[in-house]
């Protein structure tokens, strides 16, 4: 269970003023559950994902990942927990242009504590690329892939360490509607088949309906959407 309780986070603006982004946000996400986070642009949806994914520490409140309280974790334990528990999918694929699709997917495997031999890594990467349906492009560099294919590679990268939660920040933002819908359906299928919890930020209400649960971020707080 990913649990955020009364999370608060503010940023200091260049003019010295304080911008409160999260003002007591709370949410629980179980493994295998799909949650869409809706909200206006600039309301703090990406910041919420940063907090959930241990990329940004809270000013106050509590965040626990499968029972582990993350408060006060040093960089080492926090990074290890982040690598084990979370996979990130961003609006842009953020594939590294100098690496092939397979090498991009391999990146998270090169930052784990367990050593995997290159052959084992290659086989594992191949399996994940097959799972998202892009294995035939594994040796291509990002410039040789379409936007949708790049995002599939990015999803494979997020999945390669078998995370318990996928955090997706507007993953369809750069895609056409049809490809976007296919991508979101893939995330939902992965959650169902492989029991990942998925938190997806979007402002596309129609796409959000593909997820069983939807929450709205407004004024720094989260509320369930029933409609």
């Amino acid at each position: 269970m990913l649990r955020l309780l009364d999370g608060r986070l503010s940023f200091r603006l260049p003019n010295g003023a304080e911008l409160a982004v999260l003002r007591g946000a709370s949410i629980e996400v179980a493994e295998g559950e799909c949650v869409a986070v809706l909200g206006r642009s600039g309301v703090g949806k990406s910041t919420l994902l940063s907090v959930l994914g241990l990329l940004e520490p809270l000013d106050s409140g509590a965040l626990s990942v499968d029972g582990t309280d993350t408060a006060g974790l040093d960089d080492g334990p926090a990074s290890r927990l982040r690598g084990e528990a979370f996979g990130f999918v961003f609006q842009r694929s953020f594939l590294l242009g100098h690496l092939t699709a397979a090498e991009n997917v391999e990146i998270p495997l090169l930052h784990q504590d367990r050593y995997m031999r290159s052959g084992e890594r290659r086989r594992h990467v191949r399996g994940v690329l097959e799972r998202v349906g892009i294995a035939h492009r594994s040796r291509h560099t990002p410039s040789m892939l379409s936007g949708g294919e790049q995002q599939l590679v990015a999803i494979a990268r997020a999945l390669v360490r078998r995370p318990r939660y996928l955090l997706a920040d507007e993953p369809t933002g750069d895609l056409d509607p049809e490809t976007g819908e296919r991508t979101v359906r893939l995330l939902a299928d992965l959650a169902r088949d492989e029991h990942h919890g998925v938190v997806m930020v979007t402002h596309d209400v129609e796409l959000s309906r593909l997820f069983a649960r939807r929450v709205l971020l407004r004024d720094g707080r989260l509320s369930e959407l029933t409609e």
Binding site: S46, T47, L49, S50, G53, L55, E56, D75, G76, S79, R80, R82, G83, E84, F86, F88, F90, R92, F94, L96, H98, L99, E103, I107, P108, L110, H111, Q112, D113, R114, Y115, S118, R157, R161, D169
Partner: protein
């Protein structure tokens, strides 16, 4: 350990993918290390040459010479005095030998030429460490027919161990048939024949009047001059000989200072080159950071700790430094026979062919150090990046 192994994989991927950046980074290191290794290796060879030449000519550290007055009965008495001194210093790790210098006509293969003649009594090699390159040094010569040793310069005329040669000492003297038992490198460029003094004296009893003679005395460091003087004076008096005050021969300081000063000057210039290389790595590393924000943030998001980001970045720069230094060492190795003699003309040709391994190790270590220092600041800055920024990009 796992972090280091993965860091190596990531570093190789990055270096392979950014060839131009790598080449630019490596270039300054190559030049710096090339200069460093070239100077260091040449200076090392020059130092060795100076030291070796001084050791061969003047003996081991702490060697004294006592010049003896010529005389008809000199050989027997001088050999006795040298033996007496040798017996007194042997227990302290020292040695003493008689060395008499003169000239002779050498006949070999029907040809006659002039050579230096050195008559020896006592353990000369324990004082002057001549390199035996063939055969052996006659420790205890027996028989009347002299067994001789020639130096490398004499051997260049074709004389080999086992050959018979003739020696004529003095204008009207008879030819002394001799057998060659060894060849030594004595650092001299003139042909020289070493012959046991007692055997030579049997053939030419008055030889002591025609040759300059000295006792070479090696005593362990720390023996005071007056102690050596007392020791020598006693032995000479007992043998009925007169000699000069002992003079210490092995003062290398002047020659070594000249070589070391030149070496320091060149190394300073080479060090500046290396510093430039290090600044090049630093500069390119810092300039490349903005374009690596996404990559590094992704790695952090994927579980990389700040420490592992530092390790990855440092591994890259150290690898580049090591590869550049290896290239530079290879270049220095190839150019060594030419550059070493350009920098230090006093290096003998033989030494200019032997590239010192230590210089290669120093060069590669210097390249890796430049990579380590040059990569440190970019690595620390990369580790301190705000990874959440990628989520908001």
């Amino acid at each position: 350990m796992t972090t280091a192994r993965y860091a190596l994989v990531v570093a190789v991927q990055t270096i392979r993918s950014h060839r131009l950046r790598t080449i630019l980074t490596a270039l300054a290191i190559v030049l710096g290390v090339l200069a460093l290794v070239t100077v260091d290796s040449a200076a090392g060879a020059a130092e060795s040459a100076v030291v070796d030449s001084a050791l061969l000519a003047n003996g081991l550290p702490a060697t004294w010479a006592v010049n003896l007055q010529p005389g008809l009965q000199l050989v027997g008495r001088a050999a006795g005095a040298a033996g007496d001194i040798d017996g007194r210093v042997e227990s302290r790790g020292g040695a003493a030998a008689l060395e008499m210098d003169g000239s002779a006509a050498l006949e070999f293969n029907g040809q006659t030429g002039s050579v230096n003649l050195v008559a020896v009594a006592g353990p000369l090699l324990a004082v002057r460490p001549l390199h035996v390159v063939a055969g052996a040094w006659p420790e205890t010569p027996r028989g009347l027919r002299p067994v001789v040793v020639v130096n490398s310069a004499a051997a260049r005329s074709g004389i080999r161990v086992g050959d018979a040669i003739g020696l004529r000492v003095g204008s009207r003297a008879t030819m002394i048939a001799s057998g060659v038992v060894g060849v030594v490198n004595d650092g001299q460029s003139d042909p020289t024949v070493y012959v046991p003094a007692p055997q030579l004296a049997w053939w030419r009893p008055t030889i002591g009047a025609d040759m300059s003679a000295r006792i070479l005395l090696h005593v362990p460091d720390g023996s005071a001059e007056d102690e050596v003087q007392t020791l020598v004076a006693g032995s000479l008096a007992r043998s009925g000989l007169q000699g000069s005050n002992p003079v210490r021969l092995d003062d290398l300081s002047g020659q070594m200072t000249a070589v070391q000063t030149l070496r320091l000057a060149f190394l300073t210039v080479a060090g500046l080159g290396l510093l430039t290389g290090m600044l090049g790595i630093l500069n390119i590393g810092l300039a490349a950071l903005p374009e690596r924000v996404v990559e590094l943030s992704l790695r952090r998001a994927a579980g990389a700790t700040r420490r592992s980001i530092v390790v990855v970045m440092m591994t890259e720069s150290v690898l580049v430094g090591a590869a550049a230094a290896s290239l530079a060492v290879a270049g220095a190795f190839l150019l060594y026979p030419v550059t070493s003699r350009m920098i230090f003309p006093q290096i003998p040709a033989s030494a200019a062919d032997q590239f010192p391994l230590l210089s290669a190790i120093v060069g590669i270590a210097a390249g890796m150090l430049a990579g380590l220092l040059g990569g440190l600041i970019p690595a620390l800055r990369a580790a301190a990046m705000d990874i959440a920024s990628i989520m908001r990009a």
